[in-house]
């Protein structure tokens, strides 16, 4: 490929853009770097942006990972995240696809009703009553089904489906495909970027879910990682009550930051795999053509 020859002013412009992006990168990375550095802080050291590797202490991680409840909590978080993504994505697709078809009778009314729930939330107590009356309290279903469809994600996906040329669907129908076959064999394969993006949105939301488990679950063995990590950190504050406890092997700052790293890490690992789809998916879903 022939290399494009840039003028001096173009080069300056590109360099300044690069420099600005590097600056943005640094500003973004510094807090994350600080979190990692403090999580490795040994006793006797003060939190700082730079801690030489020979001073790194993994005590905070060891103390957190050494808690018997954390592995169970991790499993719970995985179940809630994977199950939540599967259920939410399935339901969102099944709602978004028909709503994206112009020939759906009452489409405007249905979208309006859905939008109403987006703008006016029922509130905590009615939600709790519904979950209770459905007999879902203290089960994973209370988390998985409550708010399984995000209206925002539904609208993004609906817009994306609308951007798929109708001629493709018509061709499939001429070949005798049913609605479901059109969705399965034509629409969904073309929607991978959007599905991955929405899946990531759901995944992050489920992974970070803190309030709903506290509200709907009473069995501590069902609690996900964020709740259990919070409880472990709370334990540091109750030395007045619990003899022989809270003997920290790591500074409180390190424990807090290590819990931040632990809770963030899985999503950070997943993100690069989805990134290229993510950008494309969000952009396409955001523009109505």
């Amino acid at each position: 490929m022939a290399r494009k020859i840039l003028s001096r002013s173009d080069r300056w412009f590109e360099w300044s853009v690069d420099a600005f992006l590097v600056l943005v990168l640094v500003i973004t990375l510094v807090p994350m770097w600080y979190v990692v550095m403090v999580s490795l802080l040994p006793f006797g050291e003060r939190p700082s942006l730079w801690l030489p590797p020979w001073k790194w202490s993994f005590e905070a991680y060891a103390q957190l990972v050494g808690q018997p409840s954390i592995w169970r909590a991790l499993l719970n978080s995985v179940i809630l995240t994977v199950g939540g993504v599967f259920i939410s994505l399935s339901l969102t697709v099944l709602a978004a696809y028909p709503l994206s078809r112009r020939d759906l009778p009452g489409r405007g009314l249905i979208v309006g009703l859905i939008l109403f729930t987006f703008l006016f939330n029922a509130g905590l107590i009615p939600t709790f009553l519904v979950v209770k009356d459905l007999g879902l309290l203290n089960t994973y279903w209370a988390i998985l089904l409550n708010g399984a469809i995000s209206v925002y994600n539904l609208l993004v996906l609906k817009t994306f489906f609308q951007s798929i040329p109708e001629s493709l669907e018509e061709a499939a129908r001429i070949d005798g495909a049913s609605d479901f076959q059109v969705l399965w064999h034509v629409v969904l394969p073309l929607s991978k970027p959007a599905l991955l993006t929405i899946g990531l949105f759901y995944g992050v939301a489920n992974w970070n879910n803190f309030f709903e488990p506290i509200l709907f679950l009473s069995d501590r063995n069902l609690m996900p990682l964020p709740v259990v990590l919070r409880d472990i950190l709370t334990g540091l504050n109750v030395a007045e009550y619990v003899e022989g406890s809270a003997a920290q092997a790591a500074p409180a700052e390190a424990l807090k930051m290590a819990s931040v790293v632990l809770i963030t890490l899985p999503m950070l690992l997943v993100y690069p795999w989805l990134q290229r789809h993510f950008t494309k998916g969000v952009l396409i879903g955001s523009v109505k053509e």
Binding site: Q67, L215, D231, I232, V238, E240, A247
Partner: protein, 515 residues
């Protein structure tokens, strides 16, 4: 034994036998986790079996989330008419709300069914009054078990190195703090120490925080005779912050801040951070509980092997007054849902609570598994610290139903320990902290209903005081008057008047007002 108690005991035994004949009673108990970092008791916990076999109770125990999340959950359960049978309430605002909603049952009829527990814990009419409406008592108001355990601790090794004496007045405190900050007391050649470590903390075990900067600075207000929210003066009742001495105390804290003798991060630090820092050896003096000290000594001596700590009496103010702070004699509060009482579970609740009060139940709930979580040494339960709290804590999640702070219990919980070759008799330190702190009993505060805009009032006072002490706002007649005038916009006078009425009604002030 007199005839009455005999009959009651007989009735209790007969009730137990009758209950067993009918099959176990389902009893749902919900408490805040005593050990938040530990899981719930396992399903095969021997307590479940014992309760089924001996008391005819099928116990379902759930742990409430800590803090406001627990209140939210109880609020949601109340809305769903699904409250547990017996549960703990830590927010008096929530207690009032549940009471108004008619969700709570009077507990009067439990008392004769659990005579031993009642005699030790619920026989103080003044404390019962705190949770009463007319003659009905709506809560099992325990006495406080672990209050007044806070103190200022001083690095005696630093005092000795600098040739100083423990401070006994505020002025001496300031001079010592200055020396600890500026004269390199640890001798490492670096300017890395501070005179005093304290944080803004309103949630400290057994101390009433009062309006202001929280508990860690009450000793300053105590030195000026204005610790706590109200002055309890029957002739001139008022909020302490109206007293000119409140301003003087605030000015003293500002002086500490301006002289940079307090850790500059103090206004944003949390209690756990403070603990880390004194254990690292950064502070010459710090505010800490005996329990917190016990938990941190190992780390402290690992970092500061030559250190020596002593407990300081609260420093005296200009008029010779001193107090480490205020406290309430009211401790944990357990309540019974109306639904439970209506469905005739009172006998099962009483049986369970009486069992938890002493003997087998007391040890199982309070101390865990004998031989594993604790052993008895000369009849004193001694915790096996080799078993991590994350494990043994599971078996003592219901300990607040059992503990009652008797001397043997305190010896077990705060034993004699040896750290880095030094002996610490923790229960003696606890007694010393309680005795020499000149603590002021302000139990009446618990009866004072929160103002409708309580959070706004608390935020207003705290924010203004923080601005004053951090130097973001000058302290002079004009600014202080502006601060007090601002309270009017929050209808503080109504709150104050309501507090006075309540305190008089409950007998904490003289009955006849003089103004």
């Amino acid at each position: 034994m007199r005839k009455g108690p005999k009959l009651l005991l007989l009735a209790a035994v007969l009730a137990t036998l009758a209950a067993k004949a009918q099959g176990p009673t389902e009893l749902h108990v919900a408490l805040y986790a005593a050990n938040p970092e530990a899981p719930a008791p396992p399903p095969n916990w021997e307590v479940y079996q014992i309760l089924r076999d001996k008391l005819g109770i099928n116990l379902k125990f759930t742990m409430l989330p800590t803090g406001a999340d627990g209140d939210n959950r109880l609020g949601a359960l109340a809305a769903a008419n699904d409250l547990p049978d017996l549960f703990e309430v830590r927010s008096l605002a929530l207690f009032d709300r549940l009471l108004q909603q008619g969700q709570l049952a009077p507990v009067n009829k439990l008392f004769p069914q659990m005579p031993r527990r009642t005699q030790v814990r619920y026989s103080d009419p003044r404390r019962n009054r705190l949770v009463s409406v007319r003659d009905q008592i709506y809560g099992l108001q325990e006495r406080v078990t672990l209050s007044r355990q806070y103190a200022i601790w001083v690095r005696k090794d630093w005092l000795d190195r600098l040739g100083l004496q423990p401070p006994s007045t505020l002025e001496e405190f300031f001079q010592v703090a200055k020396a600890f900050t500026e004269r390199d007391p640890d001798g490492n050649g670096r300017n890395d120490t501070y005179g005093f470590g304290g944080v803004i903390d309103y949630d400290t075990a057994g101390i009433l925080p009062g309006l202001g900067l929280g508990n860690h600075f009450q000793w300053v207000y105590g030195a000026y005779g204005v610790a706590g929210t109200w002055n309890y003066d029957p002739r001139a009742f008022a909020a302490n912050l109206r007293d000119p001495n409140f301003r003087r105390a605030t000015e003293f804290i500002r002086r500490l801040v301006e002289a940079k003798v307090i850790d500059p991060d103090w206004a944003t630090l949390r209690r756990a951070d403070l603990r880390t820092r004194w254990q690292q050896g950064r502070y010459g003096m710090f505010f800490e509980s005996v329990g917190g000290l016990q938990a941190g000594l190992q780390n402290f001596y690992a970092n500061n092997p030559n250190a020596e700590l002593i407990m300081l009496a609260p420093p005296k103010g200009p008029e010779g007054k001193s107090s480490m702070g205020t406290y309430s004699s009211a401790g944990w509060l357990f309540v019974v849902s109306k639904r439970a009482m209506d469905s005739g579970k009172d006998a099962a609740i009483a049986r369970f609570l009486e069992w938890a009060h002493s003997g087998e139940g007391y040890y199982l709930l309070g101390w865990g598994r004998k031989g594993q979580d604790y052993i008895l040494v000369n009849n004193v339960p001694t915790v096996n610290t080799q078993v991590p709290i994350s494990v043994r804590g599971s078996y003592t999640q219901m300990r607040w139903l059992a503990f009652n702070a008797n001397p043997i219990e305190m010896r077990g919980r705060y034993p004699e320990i040896t750290v880095a070759g030094r002996k610490f008799v923790m229960y003696q330190l606890m007694e010393k902290a309680q005795a020499q702190g000149n603590w002021i009993n302000r139990t009446g505060d618990v009866a004072v209903k929160a103002a409708p805009n309580q959070a706004d009032i608390e935020r207003y006072v705290a924010e203004n005081l923080v601005q004053f002490v951090l130097g973001q706002r000058p302290i002079n007649d004009t600014t202080w008057r502006q601060f007090l005038d601002g309270l009017r916009n929050l209808r503080f006078e109504q709150y104050e008047a309501a507090a006075e009425r309540t305190l008089r009604e409950y007998g904490y002030l003289l009955p006849t007002p003089t103004r």
